[in-house]
């Protein structure tokens, strides 16, 4: 069964890009355009990994992360930060990696493979 990745980013083009990238490499990908949508999707079907944008309207990446951590149920899911802003690489506690856009897709795939396998 394919490992599941949840993409959280308010930029539709990034969501589409990452969905295609992950599916082309054997992962099952779903995406959420906001932290609020991502929280609902977590409840429906918990992923094996989350890619998380930082600066999103309504609910920022760190706020989403804190909400998940408080709930307790999904805080073990590894997170890869994908952000357009340098200096925000370490704002998500316990993130396994942080990539700044534009990122190297081979590097991203390597990190995903190391984190959750193929």
């Amino acid at each position: 069964m394919a490992k599941k990745i949840l993409i959280v980013d308010d930029d539709a083009s990034i969501r589409d890009y990452l969905t295609t990238l992950f599916e082309d490499n054997g992962y099952a990908a779903r995406s959420a355009g906001s932290g609020a949508d991502a929280l609902k999707m977590l409840e429906q079907d918990a992923p094996d990994l989350i890619t998380l944008d930082i600066e999103m309207p309504e609910m920022t990446g760190p706020w989403f992360s804190r909400t998940v951590a408080k709930g307790g149920t999904y805080d073990r899911i590894p997170v890869i930060v994908i952000t357009g802003h340098a200096g925000l690489q370490y704002v998500i506690p316990k993130a396994v990696a942080s990539l700044t856009k534009p990122f190297d897709q081979a590097e991203l795939l390597r990190i995903v493979r190391e984190t959750i396998g193929q």
């Binding site: 609910m59 920022t60 990446g61 760190p62 706020w63 992360s65 804190r66 951590a69 408080k70 802003h85 340098a86 200096g87 925000l88 690489q89 370490y90 704002v91 506690p93 316990k94």
Partner: protein
């Protein structure tokens, strides 16, 4: 909460992160915001010559120059000001910390927001603040002072986990009152952390583990005794960790997902200018992944009014 915010800026990129925090908080809490810049330190007598604090150069601070600085501020913060047409821009000449304190008193602000220094001292322990400016403002301000030194220490949407870091000093009591007031207003959780600085209580090697654990227990009991009654009704976590205070506080922020750290700018500490690596608060400001507020007086507690701001 935070009806009036004074954002004191050098208008350099070093203050970009502080600008984000100041305007994001103003939006969230419906605050009136003032962008305040101190032009420079005046020369002798009645001369309009000032030493620009950003460049160190002597300039003629005539009306034209001051208007130019106003324009520069408007350009630098154009995006934020578009959303806050009622925001005020003020420019002053003088010693930065004095002018900031004067402006804060004049307007009776509820919060001062400061950015990091434009001068980066070398070495691993970065002195991110201009000389003793932070120290002098934090020590003398009648309202809380929020300092932002890195983009990661931003306001991410709210304060759901408030950390009050205490050393049980008298000044800590004001910080506690502020922290618990914020936690109550936002319906958040309160964390109280005391760090047992092992180096201060004798040679580490001479302490048994039981000795350390006894001290930890004693400190936990003291936290409950000093602050417990006043946190009735608040979700509360009490922790005592041993180690170097700024390291443990930074770790706690990271591990517990803290949104706001509140500390007293302890008057017991040696003048930060005389410490090679800065005060505990300065180090926490430089390292934490959330805003850090210093409170030395109980004068200004967050008020219950306020809410989402309109443009």
């Amino acid at each position: 909460m935070f009806g009036k915010i004074l954002f004191a800026t050098s208008a350099s990129p070093a203050c970009d992160s502080a600008a984000r925090v100041a305007f994001d908080m103003a939006r969230k809490y419906g605050s009136q915001i003032t962008v305040f810049h101190v032009l420079g330190i005046p020369g002798k007598g009645d001369s309009t010559r000032v030493v620009d604090v950003r460049t160190g150069e002597e300039v003629d601070a005539d009306q034209e120059y001051i208007e130019g600085v106003h324009e520069e501020l408007r350009t630098t913060y154009a995006k934020q000001l578009a959303e806050f047409p009622s925001a005020k821009l003020e420019v002053a000449v003088g010693v930065p910390f004095r002018e900031v304190l004067r402006e804060a008193r004049k307007d009776d602000v509820d919060l001062i927001v400061l950015g990091a220094s434009t001068r980066q001292e070398g070495g691993y322990y970065k002195r991110g603040i201009v000389g003793g400016t932070l120290h002098k403002i934090a020590k003398n301000a009648r309202c809380p002072v929020l300092t932002v030194d890195r983009p990661a220490a931003s306001f991410w949407g709210g304060f759901s986990n408030v950390l009050f870091a205490t050393d049980f000093s008298k000044a800590s009591d004001s910080a506690f009152q502020f922290a618990q007031s914020v936690a109550r207003q936002v319906g958040g959780e309160m964390h109280i952390l005391n760090v047992l600085e092992l180096a201060k209580i004798g040679q580490v090697a001479a302490l048994t583990q039981e000795g350390i654990e006894a001290k930890l227990m004693e400190a936990r009991r003291k936290i409950r005794a000093v602050y417990g009654q006043r946190t009735e009704g608040l979700p509360l976590t009490v922790e005592v960790w041993e180690g170097t205070p700024y390291v443990e506080i930074t770790k706690y922020v990271r591990e517990k997902g803290i949104d706001l750290v509140v500390m007293a700018h302890s008057t017991r500490e040696v003048d930060p200018d005389e410490r090679p690596f800065g005060s505990t608060m300065e180090q926490v400001i430089a390292r934490a992944t959330c805003p850090v507020i210093s409170v030395n007086r109980p004068d200004k507690l967050p008020q219950a009014e306020g809410g989402e701001a309109g443009a």
